[in-house]
Symmetry: C2
Subunit: 342 residues, 2 copies
């Protein structure tokens, strides 16, 4: 049994070479699985490596080979509402490739971004994921040119560079919600959308309208409303307004779980039964969705999968795959719970 990481100086390739009576070049070849080593020598070296508990020094390797098997996540908001799920996806993908992930938080400050980027380049980081944890939108390229270091946008997109971005399919997600409400037999479906000026808001409205029209349903502007913010209070107020309208809806699709939370409260305060009187669908699938009463049917953002895809795209680029300005749109998933189906 090898004494992993004993207090003594770490075993080096030289030690292995000496013990196996070969050159370090040969040890290196065995480690890197090069074909030009005889089977007998290969076995002897492999055995010695195991016996001594040898592990190649990644820093030395990086100096020679110029890649460090490290990527970085550069984000403007480490505490963004979707950050951790996205990060977990990236970390998953990287781990599968045996690559480490460095975290860099810029606070949206170009000077900090530059500082981080310099540091990351100094460390020969193989590639970068430039990520927003909050809000999909276009951003400019990195605050520093990154010659030879590929990067990928996650949950945001670049304007012009030949760089891929990974985004949720907000349009398809809204379509799922509309489809579901139609399928469970709702006659009058309202949409409480988020604030204007967000990509998500525009895309979700498209998906909603398209699906309604494709199903031969009119979209009544009277019950399709944007809100001033994503907060529950706006969902609450908007729901009351719709319920008080001449022809109130029997279903409400909300562009976020937070809005839906407010809607649920409004229905509750009005003494309406959910879903019998009004069915409610949210968007995001944040943890609060499942804890609502009743638990909230919602459209889940594919954050984990988005992170994984971004990680994989980046690692492929690091390994030489060509980069393109291309948007990867990841499908959302409908999670049906008691707010629409008894």
């Amino acid at each position: 049994m090898a004494v992993e990481g004993s207090a003594a100086a770490r075993v080096t390739m030289r030690d292995v070479a000496l013990a196996a009576r070969v050159s370090t070049a040969t040890v290196s070849k065995v480690i890197n699985e090069r074909p030009d080593v005889g089977p007998e020598v290969r076995r002897r070296v492999a055995d010695t490596i195991t016996r001594l508990g040898y592990r190649p020094n990644a820093v030395a390797r990086g100096l020679r080979s110029r890649h460090t098997e490290t990527i970085a996540i550069l984000t403007d908001d480490l505490e963004g509402i979707f950050t951790t799920a996205l990060m977990r996806g990236v970390e998953d993908a990287a781990s599968a490739y045996d690559v480490s992930v460095v975290l860099a938080n810029t606070y949206g400050d170009p000077e900090r971004e530059r500082k981080h980027l310099r540091r990351l380049l100094d460390r020969q980081t193989d590639g970068l994921i430039i990520m927003s944890g909050n809000r999909v939108r276009a951003r400019s390229g990195p605050a520093l040119p990154l010659p030879g270091t590929p990067y990928v946008f996650l949950y945001e997109h670049g304007s012009t560079e030949a760089v891929p971005s990974v985004l949720p399919d907000d349009r398809g997600g809204a379509a799922l919600a509309a489809r579901h409400l139609i399928d469970i037999g709702r006659r009058r479906i309202g949409f409480i959308n988020g604030p204007a000026g967000w990509d998500a808001t525009v895309d979700r409205l498209h998906g909603f309208e398209e699906t309604m029209r494709a199903a031969g349903r009119a979209v009544d502007p009277a019950i399709v409303r944007p809100t001033a913010s994503w907060a529950p209070a706006d969902g609450y107020a908007t729901a009351l307004a719709l319920l008080d309208s001449a022809d109130p809806p029997d279903a409400l699709f909300c562009a976020s779980d937070d809005l839906a939370t407010g809607v649920l409260a409004a229905l509750h305060d009005r003494g309406l039964r959910i879903p019998r009187d009004v069915a409610v669908v949210g968007f995001d699938d944040r943890s609060l969705a499942v804890h609502q009463r009743p638990p909230l049917t919602t459209v889940a953002l594919p954050l984990l999968e988005m992170g994984r895809i971004a990680g994989r795209l980046l690692l492929e680029a690091v390994n030489g795959a060509p980069q393109r300005h291309e948007v990867h749109t990841v499908p959302c998933e409908l999670r049906v719970r008691a707010s629409t189906v008894d």
Copy 2:
């Protein structure tokens, strides 16, 4: 103006030495601010560095000097409820030292932990922060011995090792809440605590009881209740039970914001006015606290500060400070909002 990171091969120390007509040793000394360089030569070298836009290669430097200016966060749950705030603190501290932070997510699986640790050691990571994002408790040491690599526990604590841990002052936090409710003149203060078996639950109960007694208040077990979980539904049910008791409370301290959210709903359903009839205090200061109606007075967990302290402790250890088995308890802060004060 230097052409930072031009597509051409990066400027090396050799280039600087040649251009400044000195040896690389001298360039190295200038960069590392060694005293044994003449003022004139120092200036010439510094100018050349600026002119050529030279940046030392951190990988080469790491190979020689054996430290990489990189630390890692090892966590069992990257999506833990408090993870991002803690990470941001660590990242802040590390950035201030010009140190990078690597992310390693173990999912609580020892095999994954070992794999990550091996990788981190291979990369000569200078130190580790072993962190829980969920729950304070004792954990065993790292899944692999880390000879010569210091580490610090964050939001959890080790059992025996000579290793510091950084924890929130749950006891003091509960004391702040009790003190506040006493100060605003409440006569009958109840406590809806979280589930048994949590460090936080035990500590918060102590803090609450101590403060009450110190103020000459009886602690009536009838209105001090643990819950089965931290979820709002348990806050709701427990609040109703307390309100229905013979002598109902005029103040409720809740051991989490989620519990308090349920309590608010219960008071609302009973038609009670907040804070006039019942004042409510939560714990954690999650973002939902400020969005309650009324906004929730709560005890803020000092997550950011905890992360910063852990980062600093680790970096000091990396720089040779001796490590001890010592618990750093970081004070919580009371955030007063409309659920206790009109």
